[in-house]
Symmetry: C2
Subunit: 459 residues, 2 copies
């Protein structure tokens, strides 16, 4: 049966690419209110696309950007999957670094493959269209899907998903399903698709330290007067111990151990930490010395400084003692760590190290706990098998990133979510010249046919 | 004799202020080539002013901005003083913080006093005009000065004095004198003028640390990949020990002890370290714990961070691991410390702490050794006495600042330089709304009459 459907996919490439390009051309930047009408236009386009495939589908208003909800009924008693994707994109800035127009997708030859270049080509329009096109091909070839599929497309993923939890609660009955499939993640390597079963959590803070009541001249006041940049750097440096661990009291207290089953599986992955670092021009892992690169990346909590500013940064020199210094930092969290507890002990750590005549203000930014799909979910194996049908192999893996919606979906719907994606690490998502490999789009679409087939047999 | 001259000063205030205002109106910003013609106009104005007083004076070209050189011959056998000042100014930026036009001086009431507000009103146009006006009043009242005076006005002090050493060498014969008077410094407090006998040295560096070959996403690469900001802050924090000392190996090796005579004199100064810090909103001295605030400010070497930049500093958060991070830092030096040795051991300190896969580049900026006028110069006491004639008191003192031209003058001319000035610590030199107290201008001008009188009796 799948043979006819796969053939249909292979013979409709131009039409499928044309549809993806239509969607990428809509600049659905969710964080910038100037694009609000475009975001809605993308939602309308998706609802129409689903209806064109025979689905009941419509656009649902929220207090922010709308959701698209669609349903394709399968045979009675067949499994019911909810497919999640997001149709909003990051801003294209900095525009001057794009080699092509961000919202005018192009197909460019790249070695043995091609790149689909454009904002959202990978994250997440290309990804969500692999599933939509798999369903379309199945229906076109067979008239009907072998399982019941609901579609949920969000328009606020890139700007915080503020409306999602409330919408999920309100629509929980309509969204009831057996398993959620989320397509917003990477493959393990360019030849190995993966089910991602672990995500790190996240907590971000902005910190501002102030000393004297004005900027001072270092000749007249230097040495005796507190320098806000010295205070800030001393505090930031104290966050990491020389062995690469995070040096905040109690930071590791609640870290849940990695399940033996998972740890064992990972030791078998052909992951080369040296090569991973060499590909970005590095050769010394910066995290905890007693952990492998893979552990540092996928499960170990960490602390990163994303930006520091303060004082003079123009040409030449200016002998100023700045009265204020600022930084943006974040922690990636392991399973078990409560983001708000980490925020609290971080603040305590800073306050304890602050000179008595200096002040600090904190601005809380986003947070989300880590997420882990415990081994044993009955859909993991069929999905892995479906992926292997197309690629000859597949694996479970972790990722160091944080995708807060996964936890939100699980919490609201009471079923597990499986993260499957066909993106590669070099897709430049959120950066200029974002691209999706044509092979990701083609083999990704074919993969879903196998996955749908495998899941339908679980019924 | 001085009574007539002082009276002449008191009765010519409007004319004297008008001349100072003329000079302040010329935007002689030396660092910005756009102002080159204005810098020359200020030089021409000064040469004409000196000639108007009967001096031989002209403008001397250099490879940079010109020097003004003038001579007023006194009685045979009288002491010969060389007076140094600079007629160039700092840029007025940031313009939006000025309450008046920077180059349109105004006289504003301020408590019992007035403020002369404008760029250069204090540094150094107001200061150099106190001496010029004292000479003018003396000549107008008595026909002739009681000593020989040469004037040297520089136009590059605010931009590095590149032409000064060469000019001093070339013109050494013409500049031969018994003592140099430099008017570019502060009073001890608003009621106590001072001869500054110690200046700290200076060495400035810009440092740039790089890690990976591109910016990275902290979810995908964080923990394992070196973060340039983490590396930089760790290194910068290592420059200071918890006890406030500079933690570079060998940093204090060559620090010359403060002469007992000087240390004893300073213990008698009515300096209140707590009040000094309270005036800028602080209460905990940041330097070496076993040193007084005065020692920390005036003689102890130190390290300051003037600016840090790297990563993301816009609104919200961006989970970037920056591949580059930068800082501007400088050291103030004690007598005995060689600036280039300090630069070298700083660089060694940084390189030793750099992770093996990160890189650092250093950019050398300005440097100058510390300077100290050893007790025993025969002109110190007459100058102190002259100042006390006007103010009822005077003192020697140190300053934490660095004025490289003082050492350059001494080295080239083989005589001591005495730093005397009437500026106050709150003059906002180099900052918006620079001001000179009218009392500094008035009593400063009168002070020079007494000082000239006292020195003339040393013959």
């Amino acid at each position: 049966m799948t043979k006819t459907i796969l053939k249909r996919i292979d013979t409709t490439r131009d039409a499928r690419l044309a549809r993806l390009f239509e969607l990428v051309r809509i600049p659905s930047v969710s964080t910038d209110p100037a694009y609000a009408a475009d975001v809605r236009r993308a939602a309308d386009w998706l609802a129409a696309t689903l209806r064109d495939m025979g689905a009941e589908a419509d656009v649902r208003d929220t207090e922010g950007h709308p959701m698209v909800l669609g349903h394709l009924k399968g045979p009675d008693g067949a499994p019911h999957v909810l497919f999640y994707g997001h149709y909003d994109v990051q801003p294209p800035d900095p525009l001057e670094l794009w080699e092509t127009e961000p919202f005018e997708p192009v197909l460019r030859p790249a070695g043995d493959d091609h790149h689909i270049v454009g904002r959202g080509a990978s994250d997440d329009k290309g990804a969500l269209m692999t599933f939509v096109e798999a369903c379309r091909a199945w229906i076109d070839a067979e008239g009907k899907l072998p399982l019941t599929v609901s579609f949920l497309f969000e328009g606020e993923e890139e700007s915080g998903s503020a409306s999602l939890p409330g919408f999920l609660n309100d629509a929980a009955d309509e969204l009831a399903c057996d398993v959620v499939l989320v397509c917003d993640s990477d493959m393990f390597d360019p030849k190995t698709p993966a089910v991602t079963t672990r995500l790190r959590g996240f907590v971000a803070e902005e910190i501002s330290v102030s000393g004297a009541d004005r900027d001072l001249h270092s000749g007249m006041f230097g040495n005796a007067a507190a320098n806000a940049l010295t205070v800030l750097t001393t505090i930031l440096a104290s966050l990491r111990a020389p062995d690469g661990s995070v040096a905040i009291d109690g930071f590791y207290d609640d870290v849940a151990p990695l399940p033996t089953e998972t740890a064992d599986a990972w030791t078998k992955l052909p992951f080369d930490g040296d090569k991973f670092l060499a590909d970005i021009g590095l050769d010394a892992p910066a995290g905890e010395r007693d952990r492998t690169v893979l552990e540092q990346l996928w499960v170990r909590p960490s602390c990163e400084i994303h930006g520091i500013w303060g004082g003079y940064s123009g040409p030449g020199y200016k002998t100023v003692i700045p009265c204020e210094a600022n930084a943006k930092i974040s922690f990636r969290l392991a399973s078990g760590q409560d983001p708000e507890r980490i925020r609290a002990i971080f603040r305590k750590h800073v306050e304890k190290r602050l000179p008595p005549d200096c002040k600090v203000t904190f601005t809380a930014q986003a947070s989300a706990p880590a997420w882990a799909l415990e081994p044993g979910n009955p859909y993991i194996q069929p999905v892995l098998d479906g992926l292997a049908d197309e690629w000859g192999r597949s694996t479970t893996m972790g990722t160091g990133g944080s995708i807060p919606i996964v936890g939100a979906l699980q919490d609201a719907l009471g079923v597990d979510a499986l993260l499957v994606g066909f993106a590669n690490l070099d897709n430049r998502i959120h950066s200029p010249n974002e691209k999706y490999d044509l092979s990701s789009f083609e083999k990704g679409t074919r993969s879903w046919v196998h996955v749908i087939d495998r899941i339908s047999r679980c019924g």
